[in-house]
């Protein structure tokens, strides 16, 4: 560790026992905080909105949404990309920061991974339901021997997307579960309740902390991190190919992959902050999620916002530099056309507000940072709206121009997935340890046997 440490990664005075007891008590307590019920209740109501909308959607068809020619990709793709992007921070924290030996990842990786998993689940809803009758559409998504003898078109970026996202969901779930196994054993050993003991015992698979097991475990965990690192970069790259491989002005740009990946990490860190700030307050986790974590996340957000801003700049520059009439018109239309307000709102959110974080005073102000994290989430949603809608609604032929807006069902579907996400997240913080207990043990001072004083 560097000598200039303002905030440690763990509060003072913690031991193996206190770390274990504090984190496991959140799950094993018999008294669920009233706030949990309130939060879960709201999330669950929103989730009903989702179920209701999906029922109507399946009964009536995608006509209840606002998508139509020329904007055939509306809220569904905006929301898909928004959710998938949010998921990226979890893998970045758990895999890339692990490989770089960033100790501050340890107390935020568990719930960031959970966030990834739930965000990918929400993302998956949109393309699947956009098929209208998803049970019929399976044959062109998944390569399986069907009675028509048809196979997916592997030359299409949409199929790459299916492979990338489903691999990402699977690997994230595996990574998350592997990380949980030793903590599930802790819960099994500490639970007083018979039923809980059996359930956690089954999930822990018989983990007993054997040195032989740790040797295999640590190797597997590191390899998973090394595999997830290129995977997470590939996922949003492939998502950007959905656009960049197309010929629509405003999509056909080589800057898309890095610009999308940076945007994903940016949005993801904003969501981690949105979740971490209330979580540490409500459960008194200030010793584990310290100001160092909060500030580092703010810095990552600031750094990635600059990459995203560079993306906006290059988009505008290339539109002019290409000399292509349609590209130039696209950019002009984006900045001054009917959706100009979304473009300028996006610039305000993602380039304006976030750059106030250069100030240390603002960066370390928890309420302000919470506000910025929400602004960034809105900004990133607007970014996808701008890319998708302003590019599609006025493309090559003025005769095929049109306008787009989401119907009430587009909105209930979007709010509904927020409900699904929060419902899953509330269940997660009630039933599983939100912070990796065994990794926190490695951070307490007594875990350094070689440096022990005589």
């Amino acid at each position: 560790m560097a000598s200039r440490v303002e905030h440690p990664v763990i509060g003072p005075g913690h031991t193996f026992a206190t770390v274990t007891d504090k984190i496991s008590s959140l799950v094993l307590t018999t008294k669920t905080p009233i706030g949990w019920f309130v939060g879960f209740g709201i999330a669950f109501l929103l989730f009903q909105l989702f179920l209701g909308t999906v029922t109507l959607l399946l009964a009536k068809g995608v006509g209840i949404w606002g998508v139509n020619v020329p904007v055939g990709w509306g809220f569904d793709i905006i929301n898909f990309v928004w959710w998938i992007g949010i998921g990226h921070a979890g893998t970045l924290i758990s895999a890339i920061l692990l490989l770089f030996r960033q100790q501050w990842r340890t107390s935020i990786n568990r719930f960031a991974e959970a966030m990834t998993l739930f965000a990918v689940a929400c993302a998956g809803m949109f393309p699947i339901l956009h098929m209208g009758r998803p049970w019929v559409g399976a044959y062109w998504l998944m390569p399986y021997p069907n009675t028509m003898g048809l196979w997916p078109n592997f030359r299409s970026p949409l199929i790459w997307d299916v492979f990338a996202v489903s691999t990402y969901a699977t690997v994230s779930a595996l990574f998350w579960f592997v990380g949980l196994v030793p903590d599930l054993a802790t819960l099994r050993d500490r639970s007083q309740n018979k039923v809980a003991k059996v359930i956690y015992g089954m999930l822990a698979l018989g983990w007993r902390g054997s040195a032989r097991h740790w040797a295999n475990y640590e190797t597997a965990y590191l390899i998973l991190a090394a595999l997830s690192t290129p995977l997470v970069v590939s996922v949003h790259t492939v998502v950007s190919f959905d656009f960049a491989v197309g010929v629509i002005p405003g999509w056909h740009a080589t800057v898309f992959p890095p610009y999308f990946v940076a945007g994903a990490i940016y949005a993801g860190f904003a969501m981690v902050l949105t979740l971490a700030i209330p979580l540490r307050k409500a459960y008194g986790l200030e010793d584990f999620i310290t100001m160092k974590h909060i500030e580092n996340m703010a810095k990552v957000m600031l750094a990635t916002s600059l990459v995203v801003a560079y993306g906006y700049l290059i988009e505008a520059f290339m539109a002019w530099y290409s000399g292509n009439t349609y590209e130039r018109f696209m950019m002009w239309n984006r900045a001054t056309g009917p959706y100009a307000w979304t473009y300028w709102a996006l610039i305000l959110c993602n380039v304006g507000v976030v750059n106030t974080l250069w100030s240390k005073r603002l960066r370390t102000s928890i309420p302000y940072l919470f506000f910025v994290s929400l602004v960034v989430s809105v900004g990133m949603w607007l970014e996808r709206f701008v890319i998708i809608v302003t590019s599609l609604h006025r493309d090559f032929l003025p005769s095929s121009w049109g306008n787009y807006r989401g119907t009430p069902f587009d909105w209930t579907m979007f709010l509904g997935t927020i409900g699904l996400f929060l419902t899953l997240f509330f269940l997660f913080i009630r039933f599983l340890p939100v912070i990796s207990i065994f990794e926190m043990r490695t951070l307490v001072p007594e875990a350094a046997p070689k440096e022990e004083k005589p």
């Binding site: 026992a17 003898g149 196979w151 030359r155 790459w160 018989g206 740790w214 597997a220 595999l227 046997p449």
Partner: protein, 176 residues
């Protein structure tokens, strides 16, 4: 009465278990296992337990995923149902790179996780060490070292005294 599984010694600090593990290995015991609440490199070093077969399984899984992903795309697009889409070649290998990369990662990750679980013998709900009443603290803040009765040097009396001498706070016999 059948033979016990072994003798389980309990230690209170990481430094003690590392010292004890080194001493046990030096004394010639080989059927030894340590139980710690978090991964400890020093204990692995002391007991010479660093070999793991996980990387080989991951390599095999990754190669399988690559071959399967590429094979699926080549077979379905070139052999089984060649379809002319915009005059592009049937064997559009640059396009095949992306799904093949994803299946490589997918199968490598599956091999890492299920390989690790299989090598560890999981799921394995019962193990003799769980019979020791204080063993539940191995997942909290206590460190255990178990010399198993299968070890040729194992002797109920002498091994117990040896472990006591290493500073174990408690040495218990593990019922089979």
């Amino acid at each position: 009465m059948s033979r016990p599984h072994g003798l389980l010694a309990e230690f209170h600090t990481p430094a003690e278990i590392v010292r004890a593990a080194e001493a046990v290995h030096a004394a010639g015991y080989r059927k030894v296992d340590a139980y710690t609440p978090y991964p400890m490199e020093e204990v692995l070093d002391a007991l010479h337990l660093h070999q793991t077969h996980v990387p080989k399984l991951v390599l095999a899984g990754g190669l399988f995923g690559l071959a399967a992903g590429w094979g699926l795309q080549y077979w379905s697009s070139v052999i089984e149902y060649p379809m002319n889409i915009g005059g592009r070649p049937f064997n559009a290998w640059p396009a095949f790179v992306v799904p093949a990369f994803e299946t490589t990662v997918l199968f490598a990750a599956l091999a890492a996780v299920f390989g690790m679980l299989a090598l560890n013998g999981f799921p394995h709900p019962y193990h003799p060490v769980f019979n020791v009443p204080g063993f539940a603290t191995a997942s909290r803040d206590r460190f255990f070292l178990c010399i198993e009765s299968e070890d040729p040097k194992f002797d109920a009396e002498k091994t117990r005294d040896f472990l006591k001498g290493l500073g174990a706070s408690e040495v218990s016999e593990v019922a089979p």
